[in-house]
Point group: C2
Chain length 280, copies 2
């Protein structure tokens, strides 16, 4: 496993791999790797000859009041985990190499970010789309793997790939959960032991709403209100509890076809997100 | 020469060309080709094995009050000219194939468009950057040729290529002029014979300002005022007459190093632009 920090070196490597006719997989991460990430890597390896995992805490996707400075970083631990999975390359670029002084470009989507987390994190998805496009252009993957826990991010990337005619196939990886149902996230480490117990309520509530939909409840607004109240009663500050169209992320008033039930809620200083796709 | 209208077909063709190890050149145009375009094509051919000329009047770079509907179109005439130059492929996609119903992505630059034409054509350079990025992703050129008459466009593309880590080399082609100095432009056809005579005043004024700079005049504001008045006296409505930094397009107050002297002025319903790079 080679660890590459230079954009130019990474480009040389992928050009040589492509010249050999080999298929490249990219798994973009911000590091602090957990079993969810590792599962994405295993999926990527199944669809490629050469696997690149990028580790980059992307400054331009964090708002000024967000946790860029405190976001967990553990490059040595990450490398060890990836080595054990026989990953071929770790791409861990310097921020100054990714964004030089003159940098001024953003990839902006006009509709998908006007929903869910996008309403609470202005500029976040432009920052995500921009860095992912740069990583695609540097690493030239045939396939790239994204986790479904960040469902809005996944949709933004899928839409960008389609709109910009990119030749990369996006693989969706199901959300990986702790035994008690909590979606794995690097930010889970922010929680106190007490908050960690309360956090299980998020997935439980999503599953309750799923049961109600399966039982024939189609009134999205009352289902959303139910979900939000369940979490508020447990001590969460809820950014949204929303039932949306899986493609456009537009709110639905009546659950007719498949929907995404998505939630963002804060527990102390930890903001957690989760979602499930439900088919009535 | 093959004329291709399908995005998918164009991608298949360039993938096969790249697999043969051949170098691809792209010359992006909006058609209505004049000798300036043809000179760009000749330059591109010198730097590549296979030359693609795209012809696409890009709707998203026109404002609602601009000339999208009336922009000159002559696909048959264009094909004939390109055939004579032994161009390999003309890529003339349908607007619906470039922008489907769900399309919502824009490439936005944060500083370069806040100057010159960008101030008079909101959204124009986002539309340009977006379509050029799509054309790059579809045609996968090693080199692409842009004319220096559209200097701000050229800088936007160069900056996007750098910021997004694209593997395409941008070739700058000097502005091609009519014998009387008028910069060639598809929009020149909008002018009446009388306006066409007056239009020569633009390049004459640029050259006068160049002479003054070469003679030691460094006061950018007074030079700009001089240029603007010369054109207004001739009947132009001047959008700007500006002396700017060649990289950032920021205004300069004193001409110390190389500058771009750039002008946009309207004559009746025709908006003309031109510029020269001047080194004192």
């Amino acid at each position: 496993m080679e660890v590459i920090t230079s954009v130019e070196r990474m480009k040389e490597v992928v050009d040589a791999i492509r010249a050999q006719g080999k298929r490249i997989c990219l798994v973009p991460t911000m590091g602090a790797l957990h079993d969810g990430h590792l599962s994405l890597v295993r999926m990527g390896k199944q669809h490629s000859d050469v696997c690149i995992v990028s580790i980059f805490v992307n400054p331009i996707q964090f708002g000024p009041s967000e946790d860029f400075a405190t976001y967990p970083r553990d490059l040595d631990g990450d490398k060890e985990k990836l080595q054990q999975l026989n990953v071929d390359f770790v791409f861990a670029p310097d921020a100054g190499d990714m964004y030089n002084r003159d940098f001024q470009t953003r990839v902006e989507l006009q509709r998908l970010p006007n929903h869910l987390c996008g309403l609470f994190r202005p500029g976040h998805f432009a920052g995500v789309a921009t860095v992912v496009l740069k990583l695609f252009n540097i690493c030239k993957p045939h396939v790239a793997v994204f986790g479904m826990k960040d469902y809005q991010q996944l949709r933004v990337i899928e839409q960008m790939v389609s709109d910009l005619n990119l030749d990369v196939r996006i693989l969706r990886h199901p959300t990986v959960r702790e035994p008690d149902g909590l979606a794995m996230s690097s930010r889970n480490s922010y929680m106190s032991p007490e908050e960690r117990v309360t956090a299980t309520k998020i997935y439980k509530t999503l599953k309750e709403v799923e049961e109600r939909i399966k039982a024939g409840d189609t009134d999205a607004v009352s289902l959303e209100t139910y979900g939000r109240r369940q979490l508020e009663t447990s001590g969460f500050s809820v950014d949204y509890f929303s039932i949306v169209d899986p493609e456009t992320l537009d709110s639905v008033s009546e659950v007719a076809g498949s929907v995404v039930v998505a939630v963002a809620a804060r527990l102390g200083k930890t903001r957690l997100i989760d979602n499930i796709i439900v088919t009535p």
